[in-house]
Amino acid sequence: MAEEKLVFEPSEVLIDRPTHYCPGCQHGTAHRIVAEVIDELGLAENTIAIGSIGCSVFLYNYINVDAVEAPHGRAPAVATGVKRARPDKIVFSYQGDGDLASIGMAEIMHAANRGENITVIFVNNTVYGMTGGQMAPTTMIGQATTTCPGGRCEEREGMPIKMSEIIGMLGGVTYCERVAVNNVKNINKAKKAVKKAFQCQVDGNGFSFVEFVATCPTNWKMTPIAANERVEEELLPYFPLGVYADKLAEKEGK
């Protein structure tokens, strides 16, 4: 019999309990990545999380760090207040697309532009999840939701907003990357990005932002597998993965 080798251990920061997320939802994967990074960087006892509105508000039930809940879209402003009050703490917000790209557009743009030394985890699944599948600023053209039942239409509703491209060009942003968790390769890349984003804050280097392109099988009315395929085929061509700002690499001449 071959000797068993332990290749994977549960994250210490991730609380061992069933989540409320639907089957195939990728918030769970994003949570795990954030938790593992907090473990690996040894930040658990020094971190304050900012919960936002939507499915992800319950992040604070799954991650074992101090947390405060922000009103809809305002997490970057709340994070600013926490960080200015306690500059020695690691402060991150975790926000969905309705929260960050619609009602909270002003707060994210200005926190980023000020170069607040915080980390923002942005989960873009192209739909309002918790409220029942309404159109988001990131909803794809032709994608049917409960408030665009005939599909999002460019003439009426405009084009889906590309947040990483917008955030990446703001002067105060040190690090900005878009990732996905639709396969093992991308999950590994996503973890590297999140780790870099938190390290950026630990080193006092300023604002870091990681966008996850993620699934919402329930509101997309798809099986988890079909939803994952949609990410690859439809979303990633429009929301290309990659680094949109990296002032650290620029400094190092990379």
Binding site: I48, A67, V68, P71, V82, A106, E107, M109
Partner: protein, 354 residues
């Protein structure tokens, strides 16, 4: 108190609020410019760095109030200031802070409304300030200074009260108070132990994690939280403050607060000189409203006239307090008009004569 002779300062009401906050140990200020309170963020933009704190000119009043929420959750004494339209924008965060039981101080230098209104003094935000203002069932402690010294003193106390009750506290002034200059005597005030370390967010080193939230989904949890808040608002009744001026032998008691109370006081002095038995009752806490002392005056058979710089708002609270005893007349100065003591003579005499 300091052993040194206190140095008098000749300053605006707005600045008195800023100095009061600094003396209270305020470490963070978040604001957005709006007339007539700009002296506050302007002075705090320097003062906060001098005391090792921080200042952010936010992108909006909405963001400023949410920065306040964050700093409050981190257990730091923090302040925002604004004026009427700006306060409307802050209401969302104020509701969240009340729901999450976070201590913070907010200043509203009331201007004329509704809408953009004007930048002159008014008292049209009384309902908004004392009824919650944002969504849900909540109250703020609301303090209404009438002089620059009181603006300084009450701002200082507002921080202690905010932490004592873990609740937002509002200083409600107006453009008259904000813009007039008077001498004040700064002092050190009480040094109150905030006990913030027992509940605030610092990272969970050596203890269970803490969660500050206003979402209560479990069955009965929100009802419990609301009961808890209501009990707290009951406890706040211990904080009622008011000024009684020449009320003892008065036949008519004028009820007024803030700048209008000062103008009414001048009218009372003038009429007293003419032998008219009038007095002034000035609520200093607008919430909790000083019901009981007002009822005592009613039991002595006095008549009442409420004067406000609005179309009639605090008069509701006066009537609620007096409801089984007597009514109150009302005289409103329209926002957009600036009264002087002589303007009050006719309505006072009319009420006095019944």
């Amino acid at each position: 108190m300091s052993s040194k002779t206190p140095e008098r300062k000749f300053i605006k009401g707005n600045e008195a609020i800023g100095y009061g906050a600094i003396a209270a140990g305020c470490k963070c200020f978040f604001g957005y410019p709006i007339t007539p309170q700009n002296d506050i963020p302007e002075m705090m933009s320097k003062a906060m760095f001098e005391c090792g704190g921080d200042f952010v000119q936010a992108e909006s009043e909405v963001a400023a109030a949410n920065m306040l929420l964050g700093a409050a959750a981190a257990g730091v004494r923090c302040l925002t200031s604004s004026s009427s339209p700006g306060m409307s924008l802050k209401q969302e965060a104020i509701s969240y802070m009340a729901g999450s039981e976070l201590p913070a101080v907010l200043v509203n230098m009331n201007r004329g409304g509704p809408g953009l209104g004007d930048i002159g003094p008014a008292q049209g935000d009384y309902y908004q300030s004392t009824r919650g203002g944002g969504h849900g069932d909540y109250r703020l402690l609301v303090l209404a200074p009438a002089t620059c010294q009181e603006a300084y003193d009450l701002t200082m106390e507002a921080f202690d009260l905010a932490f004592k009750y873990r609740n937002p506290v509002m200083i409600l002034g107006d453009a008259i108070l904000g813009q007039m200059k008077e001498p004040i005597i700064p002092h050190e005030g009480k040094k109150v132990d905030d006990n913030a370390e027992t509940w605030c967010l610092t990272g969970n080193k050596g203890r269970e994690k803490r969660l500050i939230k206003s979402l209560f989904l479990e069955e009965g949890a929100l009802a419990d939280q609301n009961r808890n808040l209501m009990a707290k608002y009951e406890r706040m009744k211990a904080e009622i403050r008011y000024e009684s001026f020449e009320t003892e032998d008065a036949d008519l008691v004028i009820c007024a607060y803030g700048s209008i109370a000062r103008i009414a006081k001048s009218a009372v002095r003038k009429l007293r000189a003419q032998g008219k038995k009038v007095g002034l009752f000035r609520p200093i806490t607008l919430y909790p409203f000083p019901d009981e002392p007002l009822v005592k005056l009613a039991e002595q058979g006095k008549r009442f006239l409420t004067i406000e710089h609005n179309c009639g708002q605090m008069v509701d609270d006066v009537r609620l307090a007096l409801r089984t005893k007597v009514d109150s007349d009302f005289f409103g100065v329209m926002p957009g008009e600036l009264p002087n003591p002589d303007d009050f003579e006719e309505p006072i005499l009319k009420s006095l004569e019944g």
